[in-house]
Symmetry: C2
Subunit: 151 residues, 2 copies
DNA sequence: AGAAGTCGTTGAGAATGTCAATGATTGACT
DNA sequence: AGTCAATCATTGACATTCTCAACGACTTCT
């Protein structure tokens, strides 16, 4: 029952119809939630993503950069930090001596498991108000956009 | 179909199921498209959003900060720049002399119209592969998340 | 009137994004 | 075999964006 006596809370028709704008806001919202969920483990969603890939994929740094949509130079710093904390290690790729494979240590894998349950709990809360099927449809659509080559 | 002879292109089950991660990637993708669409007008999606609100809402700087999810101090710089270009102006709020209302000039409104059609064209391309109803459902869901208070 | 809160602003420091250059290595071509 | 372009990780520089704390001007509460 919003009254509008002087309150003049207009909304912007253009921005409210702009999927990208909504995407940006929703994304900022969701990552703030994620960051808070793993903050006390000394992680952010950034470092959590690196850890996840190190555990589940063991990619080269180049692959890491592509998957996270980051410049390769940022990967260096990110991996440096997590490596210094003993959470992952750089291995030589036996088939290409230029490449470094990023793999989690046991400590890294253990921390990842903790972080994963926290992230998942927080996400469950965030998406709880919506139909599971609806959220799954959203996910599918996002996946398609996220990995399209138009970026 | 993908062979896997040595190619080892694993995907990360955790990240591929993480709606926030997908949201972040899709958002980065979409805003890159948007930035390119208005680059030759000397705008980015950031400044375009400010302009849109100045035209359609005439908010205070505080409101601007909340709607764009930015720190008030960033609004200062953003408005400074657009004001210097003659695209908008700061007015005194007659009901509160602390507040400054941000409103577009005629030049600002004209530039906004140009930018809006470019953004909309680019978006149309981006979302063309998907069902209209599907995209509208996505938009509704994003709108709800974007303006929830859990951020 | 006085206290407490809000608004815009300034300034500082961290985190992120972007780009160019380099040494080591690979793959393609001759 | 030997050259040459391309790729990978890294470094460094710079711009943009984020986050916080402080301030004067003003408002609201009591």
């Amino acid at each position: 029952m919003d009254t509008d006596r002087g309150a003049r809370v207009h909304s912007s028709p253009t921005l409210d119809a702009d999927t990208s704008f909504l995407l940006a806001r929703a994304s900022a919202m969701a990552s703030a939630v994620g960051n808070r969920a793993v903050a006390d483990l000394g992680l952010k969603v950034r470092t959590y993503s690196v850890l996840a890939l190190a555990v589940e994929v063991e990619p080269s740094q180049r692959e890491l950069a592509e998957r996270l949509r980051l410049d390769p130079s940022q990967i260096v710093a990110l991996v440096d930090e997590l490596e210094a904390r003993g959470l992952l290690e750089r291995r030589q790729d036996p088939s290409d001596r230029r490449a470094r494979i990023v793999a989690a240590t046991p400590a890294g894998a253990a921390l990842f498991e903790q972080a994963r349950t926290r992230i998942e709990d927080a996400q469950r809360d965030l998406w709880a108000p919506y139909e599971a099927a609806e959220v799954e449809a959203l996910r599918a659509l996002l996946r398609s956009i996220a990995y399209s080559d138009r970026g």
